[in-house]
Amino acid sequence: MRHKDTLLSRAGTSFCLLLMAAVWMPGIAFGLTNDDCLGCHGDSTMTTQKDGKTISLFVDENTFKETVHAANGCVSCHVEAEVAGDEHPFPMTPVDCAGCHDAIGDTYGKSAHGLAKGKGDALAPSCQDCHSKHDILKPSNPRATTYPLNIPYTCGRCHQEGSSMTTTHELNKHNITKNYSMSVHGKGLFESGLIVTAVCSSCHTAHDVQKASVPTSSVNRDNIIQTCNQCHVGIVDKFKTSVHSPLVTKTNKKLPVCIDCHTDHSVSQVHDKDFRLIIAKQCGNCHEHQSETYLETYHGRASMLKGGERTAKCSDCHGSHNIMPSQDPASTINAANIVKTCSACHPKANQSFTTYLTHATHQDKEHYPYLFYTFWAMTGLLVGTFSFFGLHTLLWVPRSIIERLKAINKGQ
């Protein structure tokens, strides 16, 4: 009913305007001003029905005046309305931001979002889904959808686990907004208010969002180091000289990049319990044998219990970004440095102490024959003792039951 009323009143207005134009401005090109549009759209009760939903067609003039587009007329975006003159068609075709923002439009068109949109994915975002429509503010404005503090919410509208996007699309990563909030970046943002911390767009870019599998993606394995280096200056230089750098180690095997050790969305502070407890697992993704055998030793066993973050982890002995092969004089586990490395926890460490096997296993007869034979000697002792006394006990059970029954009968 409202729509009909509006149409009637609009028809009335149009008629008057046409009459006035015909009388006073013959031969002058007709131009729509914002006031013309607001004549209808300034009514806060103006609505329409779309797909069974009531949608407001109200545009708040005061809000719009503060936006980056304040100087633009309505028709500079809603071009159709200008062409049509007073009575624009309904529904209107969507606004094309690329008309002005052509470079960004190109980038977006090639991004994962743009490509999905192109394929007709109804849930793929267009400009307005991230930037809003009539409320577009500079990213430095705390009210902007693109203000650092708001970006996780802006992206989270679609990328939060359980949203219609996450439930209908096949995704490699899950719980990303939750993990991000718990991460060092997320805590920095939400708890410490650090708007310089990494938000979604810091790593994924704003308009050039690509799947990690795309070679040009900012989060592709080959580019991730540069992406992290935007903020973590200097670490790349250390890393380049370490065994993990492709410049140092020539191999066909996968070499690690930042996220292989630090994880991606759930990245935590390295001194945090959460991070220290996953180090052995992270290194173990490639160094499986070393990780497993570490877990057999005291350091590894204790690390699995409460408070276990305190025991030595891979990086405590081997270093982190600057890991060197043990033969290198700069290596923390080089014979020249190992006592100092152990001394961090064992102040009285000496050269002999450092021959403790931190990755020993009794299962490796070739490398650790002493451990192998000790283990099997002990196992033999256990099996022998338990076999004899186990048999002794088992044979005793029926006899003992008989004795008990005898005693009961005697008692009666």
Binding site: L295, R301, A302, M304, T355, Y356, T379, L381, L395, I401
Partner: protein
């Protein structure tokens, strides 16, 4: 002596009972805290650590109980020394006393006799100490020597490695951990069964807590000891009409059942875990 009047004989002195109490408290704590580390990857171990407040607390408890262990070892030495002095025997005579704690030929015969008894033979003519009790006692010595020395090495690794290669610590770890598995497994199954859980005694033989055993029980359980007492004319001297106080008996039951239950639960957790590993092929 009326028929309803039960007579008692003292089996364990207050000092002996005190030593055993120290053993129980320290051994149980050592076993629980140590196994939590040995089987750290298991949920039950994580829960023990959680309950204690972290692995560092487990370590502190473990070392504290190690001190108690060395202390009761020292007390046992005093006990043996005073027993020797009281016996008036030569040192060798005391050590190899046929009724003493060192296993001898009689024990071997009794062991064979015991297996016969299981299959319907006559119950052996047991004396003051039966061979499985002697084994328990000797195993504590063997255990303290092995677990204690390897444990000290692991407690003071820097000092230990000044005199031995560092990789001896790896060997010490295996010995300490597996010998402890043997000790805990043995005490919580074999000792518990032989002494408390076998149907004749179930659920508990309180004598180690209350000290006294009834004359009837002695006569039945250890006929040789009874006959020796009669022959020596010492029976009357050792007899007492006073039963252990009800309070002591109640305490013994509550404490004893608590300890036996805790130990049994731990051993069940260990066995389940070991089976899991054997199945997984580790």
């Amino acid at each position: 002596m009326t028929k309803t009047q039960t007579m008692y004989v003292e089996r364990f002195s207050v000092f002996q009972r005190f030593i055993h109490l120290l053993i129980i408290i320290s051994f149980l704590t050592l076993a629980v805290t140590g196994m939590a580390l040995k089987f750290a990857m298991e949920g039950w171990a994580a829960q023990i650590a959680e309950l204690a407040g972290g692995f560092a607390v487990l370590g502190a408890l473990h070392r504290f109980c190690a001190v108690i262990t060395f202390f009761y070892f020292f007390l046992t030495m005093i006990l043996l020394y005073t027993s020797w002095k009281e016996s008036g025997k030569s040192l060798l005579g005391f050590v190899f006393d046929p009724e003493g704690l060192v296993p001898n030929l009689t024990d071997l015969k009794e062991m064979i006799g015991t297996f016969r008894w299981f299959f319907g033979g006559k119950r052996p003519y047991y004396g003051h100490w039966i061979y499985w009790e002697k084994f328990d006692f000797m195993a504590v010595f063997w255990g303290i020597a092995v677990i204690g020395s390897s444990g000290l090495a692991l407690w003071f690794p820097e000092q230990f490695s000044r005199h031995f290669p560092g990789y001896f610590l790896n060997i010490a770890t295996i010995i300490h951990s597996d010998e402890a598995l043997l000790a805990a497994g043995f005490i919580f199954t074999i000792h518990f069964y032989n002494t408390h859980l076998r149907p004749e005694k179930f659920p508990l033989d309180p004598v180690i807590f209350v000290g006294k055993i009834s004359l009837d029980e002695l006569k039945h359980e250890r006929p040789r000891e009874y006959d020796q007492m009669v022959a020596a004319g010492e029976l009357e001297k050792n007899l007492s009409r006073r039963a252990p106080t009800a309070w002591l008996q109640r305490m013994a039951t509550v404490f004893g059942i608590f300890v036996v239950t805790t130990g049994s639960l731990l051993v069940v957790a260990i066995i389940v875990t070991m089976f899991k590993y054997i199945q997984a092929g580790h």
